[in-house]
């Protein structure tokens, strides 16, 4: 019996009164968008017979019961955040709702505009329509859930030419004792031409409760602008995380993504890059570390639609115990996208006999004057490296830890913001420190 294409999922519809509690209810375009999303999401969750979900089964998520969206969320204490030490402007979402008490928007740097989704919808619905009205989930099943049920989020904009020195932090925290909860944050980032911004997104939570975070981050980078996007995902053992980040680059724009995925029972980070203007570049660095029975999926699609763009992608991970890693990377080069330069690499260290990695690096190329390559490796730490360290008196455990740390740090060294880099390096060290002897 072949697996079904979709998994039935009894996700509750908003209650009659609660539907009105979703921000912007009553706006015809938004109601239509939500109705469309609901209709698409009614098919259920994507099943493993869908090629894009071949290696990641959402069946355990489908077994959970969540309260209907739009219900009021009680205020809760999220605890300290990983990036608190950095300072600067910050937005905090606790259990999916913007929490003013833990946000810092009073001292926004010049050229940076940040608003909560609800506020923006009441202030200037026409502008928000321009930003999210056309984001029809084009068949992406998880984006459909987001379109239907997004109850909060934010809109981040930079003025043309603005160089924002301080990074903006977006923190999504699950507060302890929150019970089964789901949130579908919608984040819109728009960089004006020639502007510069660093964005630090973190998903944290110590709670063991079943939570489902389904963020959709929609990024548009103007001509010649540059965004450095750091994402730390370190949620609790009961969490499900299904994120979609969509980035469109105008001419000569630059996008850097630095992802470190550590937490959650099941996490999927899907990144779609679209080159709309010539001369743009993107760098995708992804690190994943999983143990126990964690499942971590990284799926990327880089769409080279125009000539003279460059993409660099390196994903590295460490899998222990019975953890399972998935990497699906696709580079598409369209017919006229000549002089495309695309490289992709996926490397995985398997630390346990029961860990598993499934890798699918894909090239789909329709132009001849291009340079594209991909590489993938999987295996345990090199015997030579272990021998080198042990011959210098290190015990096996220390030697392995050192190799793992070096393997991961190589990737994180590229993070431009010093403070953010230090936090990520510390997270890696802490993960290794938690290893059982």
């Amino acid at each position: 019996m072949p697996a079904p294409r979709t998994i039935p999922f009894d996700y509750p519809a908003p209650k009659a009164g609660a539907a009105a509690a979703l921000p912007g209810a009553g706006l015809p375009w938004l109601d239509a968008l939500r109705a469309e999303g609901r209709q698409l999401s009614a098919d259920g969750l994507p099943g493993t017979r869908m090629e894009a979900w071949k290696y990641t089964s959402l069946a355990p998520l489908a077994a959970l019961a969540f309260p209907p969206p739009g219900e009021p969320v009680a205020e809760a204490e999220p605890g300290a955040g990983a990036f608190d030490t950095i300072g600067g402007p910050a937005l905090a979402f606790v259990n999916g709702r913007l929490d003013a008490r833990h946000s810092r928007l009073d001292t926004l740097p010049a050229g940076l505009r940040v608003r909560g989704l609800a506020q923006a919808l009441s202030d200037d619905p026409a502008q928000v329509e321009g930003l999210i009205g056309d984001t029809v989930p084009n068949g992406d099943p998880m984006a459909a859930f987001n379109a239907a049920f997004a109850a909060d989020g934010c809109i981040v904009e930079t003025a043309p030419g603005a160089v924002v020195d301080e990074p903006l932090r977006l923190r999504f925290a699950a507060a302890p004792g929150s019970g089964p909860l789901a949130w579908h944050p919608r984040v819109v980032v728009r960089l004006g031409a020639g502007s510069r911004l660093a964005l630090i997104e973190s998903h944290e939570g110590l709670a063991g409760e079943a939570t489902w975070s389904n963020p959709l981050v929609d990024v548009g980078i103007g001509a010649g602008a540059a965004l450095s996007h750091v994402k730390l995902q370190a949620e609790g053992a009961g969490a499900y995380h299904t994120a979609l980040t969509r980035t469109a680059l105008a001419a000569d724009a630059r996008y850097e993504s630095h992802l470190l995925a550590l937490g959650a029972r099941l996490a999927r980070h899907e990144i779609h890059i679209r080159f709309d203007g010539e001369g743009a570049r993107c760098l995708l660095h992804g690190g994943y570390m999983a143990r126990g029975s964690q499942h971590v999926d990284n799926t990327t699609v880089i769409d080279h639609r125009v000539p003279h763009c460059e993409s660099r992608e390196v994903y590295k991970g460490v899998l222990d115990d019975t953890a399972r890693g998935v990497f699906q990377g696709r580079i598409v080069v369209h017919r006229d996208a000549q002089k495309t330069d695309g490289h992709q690499l996926n490397r995985t260290l398997l630390l346990s006999p029961k860990a598993e990695i499934d890798t699918k690096p894909e090239l789909e190329i329709y132009a001849d004057d291009v340079k594209c390559s991909h590489g993938a490796t999987a295996g345990e730490p090199e015997a030579d490296q272990l021998f080198y360290l042990r011959s210098r008196g290190l015990d096996l455990r220390t030697a392995r830890a050192l190799i793992v740390e070096g393997f991961m740090n190589e990737l994180l060294e590229a993070v431009g913001h010093e403070g953010a880099r230090a936090v990520l390096l510390a997270q890696v060290a802490a993960w290794i420190g938690e290893a059982r002897p």
Partner: protein, 489 residues
């Protein structure tokens, strides 16, 4: 490349597009065919026609019942586009008339057939004198002539058509048929299991090294006849055999369906080398006509230290759907896949391999070279799977694509599944056009552009070409060169 060179390359592509398929002709031999269509009676007709035992008919019918349930399972995941195939429109059995009284020697062979082979460049009379190549030539569905049989028989090697093997060696056939590709394997293999008409059978006994390359030329002839070859090769402990398969087909307007199954079994310390040159009619410049080639090829390294090596040069067919695979069950067994796939005009090729590592210290190597020109699409699709018990397994995959012209596509879709930490899996893939530096280097030394490109592409394919047996290497290089002539400079 400079604009001028580009233009020259373009022109050359155009000129090749106008080139007619060199091997396109139809031999006019009266065929003894089953009526078009497919039902249980067709299968009984085929089975009766071939005088098969009851168990084989039962097996065919079992496959047919399964195939009927597979209506929705015709593979749609490959990067191939073709109109739906009407399986009731094809003719499932066609044998040359002379079958009922088989010729005892070449003198008795229908002269029309012999002329066909001459046109193909394989005159049987001369074949015997050629460097030790025995030929089991398949004309449409029934073997017509087999040579060198006596010499092989002396060593205990069985090399005959599968129909003959069913009669002469039923135990071997019954034991191994469907043991690597079960009747229910996939849509096309299941169809093949139900309706296969002929193919080759090879058995190499323990410790025997087959002294010559065994070769079969397949040829599709009668109009509207699908070809459903079934090949079974068994290499018993410590034996070695090299098998050559090559194909050309006459020009046709209607698409011809071809769904072959090849099964290889290598026991302890045995080695099978299977080489293919496939040059079936690819259709005309607009993609009209051409062979649909849906092939299931799989080898099982059943024993320790066994080795199976696939080498293929795919230049023909409108559509190629083919993934020669190795199931590495025995400890220390080795699987290899060397492939050149050249597509031009509107050809579509979705081909690659599967390496399934089950035993300890199993090793596999994949080298795939895809060359796309014209408006064609070439896809490498492969799977490397390391099972939990495959400690010390090793895989290296290299997939390179070369694009000639701006209207073709080259795609790489590897799947890598590793479930053992001591295994090492490495995959590399590149896509590029012919390097301007290399071209410049050659031209600077007085080599004209066409030769320079030929040289570079030959170098690009070298790792695969050198895996081919001598007899095949000549034909393969010629085929590569023909494709190049048309495609560049």
């Amino acid at each position: 490349m400079s604009a001028q060179q580009d233009a020259a390359a373009h022109q050359a592509v155009e000129s090749y597009a106008g080139e007619r398929y060199k091997y396109g002709f139809v031999t006019d031999v009266e065929a003894d065919s089953a009526p078009p269509g497919l039902d249980r009676d067709t299968i009984r007709f085929i089975s009766a026609k071939k005088g098969e035992p009851e168990w084989l008919l039962a097996w065919r019918l079992k496959a047919f019942e399964r195939w009927l349930e597979m209506e929705d399972e015709e593979p749609a995941w490959a990067k191939l586009h073709y109109p739906p195939i009407d399986y009731q429109d094809a003719c499932y059995y066609s044998a040359p008339k002379s079958d009922s009284d088989r010729p005892k020697s070449l003198d008795e062979v229908d002269p029309e057939l012999l002329r066909t082979y001459e046109k193909l460049g394989i005159p049987l009379q001369e074949q015997e004198m050629l460097a030790g190549v025995a030929v089991d030539a398949v004309f449409d569905s029934v073997s017509v002539a087999t040579t060198f049989k006596d010499k092989l028989a002396e060593m205990g090697i069985i090399f005959c058509s599968i129909s003959e093997a069913v009669k002469e060696h039923p135990d071997l056939v019954q034991r191994w048929l469907g043991s690597v590709v079960p009747y229910s394997d996939n849509f096309f293999a299941t169809l093949n299991s139900a309706v296969f008409t002929d193919g080759s059978f090879v058995y190499v006994p323990k410790g025997v090294r087959c002294p010559m390359e065994l070769s079969t030329y397949f040829r599709i002839n009668a109009a509207n006849t699908g070809q459903f070859e079934r090949t079974l090769i068994i290499a018993d402990e410590g034996s070695y055999v090299s098998y050559l398969e090559g194909c050309t087909a006459p020009m046709r307007d209607e698409n011809q369906l071809h769904a072959a199954v090849v099964e290889l079994v290598a026991l302890d310390d045995a080695e099978i080398k299977y080489s293919t040159v496939q040059n079936w009619y690819p259709g005309d410049a607009d993609g009209k006509g051409g062979i649909y080639n849906f092939v299931t090829k799989r080898g099982a390294c059943r024993g320790a230290n066994a080795k199976i090596s696939w080498t293929q040069v795919e230049t023909g067919s409108a559509i190629t759907w083919k993934y020669p695979s190795c199931i590495l069950q025995g400890d220390n067994s080795v699987g290899e896949f060397y492939s050149i796939a050249i597509t031009n005009n509107r050809q579509q090729a979705d081909t690659g391999t599967k390496m399934v590592h089950i035993g300890r210290n199993t090793r596999s190597r994949i080298v795939s070279k895809g060359i796309a020109a014209g408006r064609s699409d070439s896809t490498y699709r492969g799977l490397v799977r390391i099972q939990p018990k495959a400690a010390g397994a090793r895989n290296h995959t290299q997939c390179d694509s070369l694009l000639i012209g701006a209207t073709c596509g080259a795609h790489t879709v590897p799947y890598i599944e590793s479930r053992n930490p001591t295994a090492r899996v490495e995959h590399e893939a590149t896509t590029s056009k012919i390097s301007e530096d290399q071209l410049f280097y050659c031209r600077q030394r007085g080599i004209d552009e066409e030769d320079a490109v030929a040289l570079i592409v030959n170098g690009f394919c070298r790792e695969v070409l050198q895996e081919l047996p001598m007899e095949f290497a000549v034909e393969a290089q010629k085929l590569v060169a023909i494709s190049l002539e048309g495609s560049v400079g």
